[in-house]
């Protein structure tokens, strides 16, 4: 067999490794094996490629490997709260690589067939737009850029106009390839479009946006495979694209948004509803009272939201979890799909705090257990516990699946004050007879709870 054939064989094994890696990632016990298999797949792909006869010199490749590793290792050591930002940045790098390779291919090949040019245009447009869009998402997540959606009159018209212009340029280039200026113009339009796409999107929509950018980055890599005649690229890109697609659909369902709404980027309109001014009464409790409620319960469901992570309360929550479970109280966590800043983020945050993963329940499982639960403890979550989503058609969150916290026998809510949260929607849960408000910062209140529980156990 020739060297070229051996390289193809390496690519086939590499593709198989990637499929197995994702298969093994489906459950916790096999997931780490999945990562190792993924590394093996990548090693085969890179190793095979390094043997290719077209390569004249390894100097720049080696330099890039070193720089990439030096930047990559610290990026992997970020705290779990920063994982969404890191992911957005990675989407940006992945998409940039695809766009740059596409540009280089265009510069090198003056006579491109129309099919190749079509794939190249998709690669470059998707690559550049995902690059700037991901950088914008990174800026919003890192809070360098304002979290609030920025909207202006005719925004959709401008966005669609720029996209249509970019696609029009691409079609012209497919028919008449060879103009570098037009090619760069198309790339520039894609870069601008990426920025404009994210401007109107608010912080709360980031889980959907990040999933969508994941899909785009994958599709750009797949399009690169069409250009370079490389099936491994097509397969790996398609796997990434389908993963992003599934996660976007799950996030859409969890926020009750239509998928087409997201696909066209016309989402994230600020739904600010003024809180009702009428006075409703609520009851509050002290840490001492809350602690004795928890100790008298036989089952407790904790409903964490991103507010818990913002307050850095998760380690204190773990202490509370340990104390209660040691005393024979069953403690579970109810995880809403959009809790956190990206899909599955809350699970990782709790796992980092050493909370065992078998205590983490998905929304459906939590909802079937809640009616038999003695105490539900809400920490830093708001909209996902609002019963209005089930019955109040006037509510902006009507139809959104929620954690039915109000079905528990007693509900404890840790909150700074009665002010409605970021979305500006008043939460009915807080005014129920069975609800007790615990006013304070999540971290300090949970540590007070821990002290009270310890004190009451000692006596």
């Amino acid at each position: 067999m020739s060297l070229g054939t051996w390289i193809e064989v390496a690519y086939i094994f590499s593709a198989a490794c990637f499929v197995l890696a994702l298969k093994w990632l489906s459950a916790v016990p096999t997931a780490r094996r999945g990562v190792i298999t993924g590394v093996l797949g990548m090693a085969l792909a890179v190793g095979g490629t390094l043997l290719r006869p077209e390569i004249e010199s390894y100097r720049w490749i080696a330099t890039a490997f070193v720089i990439g590793t030096v930047i990559g290792v610290p990026m992997a050591m970020m705290p779990m709260t920063a994982v969404p930002q890191r992911t957005a940045l990675s989407h940006a790098f992945g998409a940039l690589a695809a766009a740059l390779v596409g540009t280089a291919e265009y510069v090198l090949n003056t006579h491109l067939s129309s099919f190749t040019m079509g794939a190249l245009a998709i690669e470059v447009v998707l690559g550049f737009l995902t690059f700037t869009a991901s950088l914008m998402a990174f800026g919003k997540l890192q809070e360098i850029l304002p979290q609030r959606p920025i909207t202006y009159k005719g925004q959709n018209f401008v966005n669609v106009g720029i996209l249509v212009l970019a696609i029009g340029t691409a079609i012209y280039l497919i028919v008449h390839p060879g103009s570098l200026i037009l090619f760069l113009f198309m790339g520039a339009l894609a870069l601008v479009f990426g920025v404009l796409l994210i401007i109107p999107i608010g912080g709360a929509d980031m889980p959907t946006v990040i999933s969508l950018l994941n899909a785009y980055a994958g599709l750009a890599a797949s399009a690169m495979g069409f250009v370079l005649n490389n099936k491994l690229l097509i397969i790996a890109g398609a796997l990434d694209g389908s993963s992003g697609l599934i996660l976007s659909i799950i996030m859409c369902k969890a926020m009750n948004r239509s998928f087409s709404n997201v696909l066209f980027g016309a989402f994230g309109q600020a739904q600010v509803v003024l809180a009702e001014t009428q006075q409703k009464s609520h009851r509050s409790a002290t840490a001492e009272e809350a602690a004795s409620l928890l100790l008298n319960a036989s089952s407790v469901m904790i409903v964490p939201g991103y507010g818990m992570a913002v307050a850095q309360a998760q380690h204190k929550v773990r202490e509370l979890f340990d104390l209660l479970t040691k005393n024979g109280i069953s403690v579970k966590f109810a995880i809403h799909p959009v809790a956190g800043r990206m899909p599955g983020h809350m699970n990782v945050l709790l796992a980092e705090a050493n909370i065992p993963y078998d205590a983490l329940l998905e929304m459906e499982d939590a909802n079937s257990e809640l009616p038999q639960t003695d105490v539900a403890l809400v920490i830093g979550a708001n909209d996902v516990t609002n019963p209005a989503a089930r019955h109040d058609q006037a509510s902006p969150i009507y139809g959104m699946p929620i954690i039915n916290t109000d079905r528990a026998r007693t509900v404890l809510v840790i909150k700074r004050s009665m002010n409605p949260g970021f979305a500006g929607i008043d939460n009915e849960l807080y005014y129920l007879d069975r609800t007790l408000m615990l006013f304070g910062d999540a971290k300090s209140f949970v540590s007070d709870l821990v002290k009270e529980v310890q004190g009451q156990l000692a006596t």
Partner: protein
Amino acid sequence: MNLDLLLTYLYVFVLATFLGLEIIRRVSPMLHTPLMSLTNAISAIAVVGSIVIAGEQKTTLTTVLGTLAVTASMINIVSGYLITYRMLSMFKKGKPVKR
């Protein structure tokens, strides 16, 4: 690329997409963050195209573009696999509750 090749590649693309949809649907929602960081590392397979461009050294411009692309992909490979492994190491099973 001619029409025959395009069709072959479309076969590969469509089949890989369906396979991906089937496999990824089965991934536990608990692991969606590691899933995204792993697929992100896998899509850094763009390194394959970047290596060739950076190594061919046909023009200065393309060598620069290729080297930048290899660097960007390498960042994703290293940080993507490492952070996924780190995250998964945090998932531990609890001890059974004794009454």
